[in-house]
């Protein structure tokens, strides 16, 4: 018993235990996120959703998982075998390692730890480049999509992979800009320090609402969610990059997509929405007991839940963008706007002005963007030149 306590009191071993717990927790969360998705989509379409397996269909994820395991795992004859097998694992692993730097619940001490002991951090790896690490890892996931599409030896799959690659490249740019504004403001790349900064100054979304909004949009695009799911648009590409996949490999693609949703919402929450803290709740924000740490984890989990619900509501509200509209939105809309926001943040920092200056700048940039789009002609509606009105002759 004593030795277990000593091991848990050491940050290294605690991180390993936490990593295993997070790994298991994420698997469960993903399974139930899929159930939530099915339920929410059913409700928005005036249906009930899965309600046969267990009470209210709560055991449905287990049935689904079993089904995926029992299905025949087909590898088509002419695929690039090595890459075909590698791609789903690649995307799966990449989606999971992103969780390493998410700060789940600040620091705490077990009751048996001495006063002088260093408090434990509820974070698998507390590294200086935390945010950079998440960005790097989450953009790696496109490799899985492209490799899957390429290895399938199927033109539809390949189109899906190509679209995903182009889309990720485009949306990385405004995403990086948004993160840059947040980094400039908080002065740190560590997510836990960003959360602490927000504990002192209030949620960052108050200073940079536009950056938070654009970050949310790019997160949708990065996770290949509606309305940016061109990589797997069923009407055009059958299933997109995972058309040829079956059984466990297909399940891995879905696991990766949903874990990506969870990572990106956790990241957004830590940067712009106060992380695991609740403003004004002193006990939660300052206590260093194990119970308080658990409560902070619960707060973060609840915020992630709200974000995932929002993802799903958006999925059933907005139709898919056409590819040129998608590109136009990224390069002509989001990139210039976020550039202006970053520039404003830089000036505020250099001149030493109040941080509140960025709030009107954010709103102003958004309105100015809308004004330019109205003044700039019809292009934004997606109307093509060939559809211009032809003058009647004779």
């Amino acid at each position: 018993m004593e030795s277990i306590r000593n091991i848990l009191a050491d940050q290294f071993w605690f991180s390993i235990v936490l990593g295993l717990v997070v790994f298991g927790g994420i698997q469960g969360a993903v399974a139930y996120a899929i159930l939530l998705e099915r339920k929410l989509s059913a409700w928005t379409q005036d249906r009930y959703g899965p309600n046969r397996v267990g009470p209210y269909g709560l055991l449905q994820p287990i049935a689904d998982g079993l089904k995926f395991f029992l299905k025949e795992d087909i590898i088509p004859a002419n695929v690039d075998r090595a890459l075909f097998i590698f791609a789903p694992w690649m995307i799966f692993v990449v989606a999971l390692v992103g969780f390493a730097v998410i700060p789940w619940g600040g620091s705490f001490k077990f009751g048996w730890m001495s006063e002088t002991a260093k408090p434990l951090v509820v974070q698998v790896a507390s590294v200086d480049i935390g945010l950079l690490y998440i960005v790097a890892v989450s953009s790696l996931s496109v490799y899985g999509v492209v490799l899957g599409g390429w290895a399938s030896n199927n033109k539809y799959s390949f189109y899906g992979g190509l679209r995903a690659a182009a889309q990720m490249l485009s949306y990385e740019v405004p995403m990086g800009m948004c993160l840059m504004a947040a980094i400039l403001m908080t002065g740190s790349l560590r997510l836990e320090e960003m959360v602490d900064w927000q504990a002192r100054h209030g949620w960052a979304v108050m200073y940079h609402p536009l950056a938070a909004l654009v970050l949310f949009i790019t997160a949708l695009a990065e996770a290949n969610r509606m309305p940016f799911d061109l990589a797997e648009s069923e009407q055009e590409l059958i299933g997109g990059y995972h058309t040829e996949y079956s059984a466990l490999k297909l399940a891995l693609f879905f696991l990766a997509e949903y874990s990506h949703m969870i990572t990106s919402s956790a990241m957004m929450i830590c940067i712009f929405f106060g992380g695991y803290l609740v403003p004004g709740w002193t006990w939660l924000n300052t206590t260093t007991t194990f119970g308080a740490a658990l409560a902070r984890v619960a707060v973060l989990a609840f915020k992630i839940f709200l974000f995932i619900c929002l993802y799903m509501l958006i999925r059933w509200t907005i139709p898919r963008f056409r590819f040129d509209q998608l590109m136009r939105l990224a390069w002509k809309g989001l990139v210039p706007m976020t550039m202006a926001v970053v520039a404003a943040q830089g000036i505020v920092l250099y001149m030493g002005w109040s941080q509140w200056v960025t709030l009107p700048v954010n709103v102003g940039v958004l309105l100015f963007g809308g004004f330019v789009s109205v003044a700039g002609g019809k292009a934004v509606t997606g109307r093509q030149l060939s559809m211009r009105r032809v003058e009647a002759i004779g």
Binding site: W43, T44, L313, T317, L367, S373, V374, R383
Partner: protein, 183 residues
């Protein structure tokens, strides 16, 4: 030589796409409007309670007179098969799912009767042409739609099975014209 079109270029009215306003260009107000609709449907439990039929427990009410489900072979008032083996239904069937073998009838009121009458329920497209074609109203479609089996062979309904469908459904849907006997 191409025919001269009977329309003039001036007949064509080109309709422009409506211009988008500032709020529409910004996407966001429109998106929030859409989210409102989505949310409204999400929390309207009554709507889905009214619409959804929980199938195995609840069943839809069908119009029994003309629902086209499983076939049946009618019996006449003496309990004999009403069919006179005229092959009209087999001829009319667009899916070629009816196979009849006729034989001289043992009864004085008709010349022939079927010794075999098979319907392949898997080939059938439930168009009801056989019912239309039958001169003695011997073959009819019933409101039964729960048609399952473990094998293809099981789904080929023979004469006895079709007659048993009649016994099962005659109260639910009485024979349309019981007075026709013989031919």
């Amino acid at each position: 030589m191409t025919a001269k079109p009977d329309w003039k270029q001036t007949d064509i009215v080109y309709v422009d796409q409506p211009e988008l306003s500032m709020t529409e260009r910004l996407y966001l107000p429109q998106i929030f409007g859409g989210m409102k609709t989505t949310l409204r449907h999400m929390f309207k439990k009554k709507l889905r309670d009214d619409m959804v039929v929980q199938y195995p427990e609840q069943k839809r009410t069908l119009r029994k007179e003309n629902y086209r489900g499983v076939h049946r072979l009618n019996r006449d008032d003496q309990g004999r098969v009403a069919c006179v083996a005229c092959f009209m239904c087999e001829t009319a069937c667009p899916a070629h799912c009816i196979h009849i073998e006729g034989a001289p009838s043992p009864w004085p009121d008709r010349e022939k009767y079927p010794i075999k009458f098979d319907i392949d329920e898997l080939r059938c497209i439930y168009c009801g042409m056989c019912e239309e074609a039958c001169p003695v109203d011997a073959i009819e479609l019933t409101p039964e739609y729960q048609l399952v089996g473990h094998s293809r062979e099981e789904m080929i309904f023979d004469k006895e099975k079709l007659l048993s469908v009649f016994d099962r459904t005659k109260d639910e849907k009485p024979r349309k014209n019981p007075n026709i006997t013989g031919y």
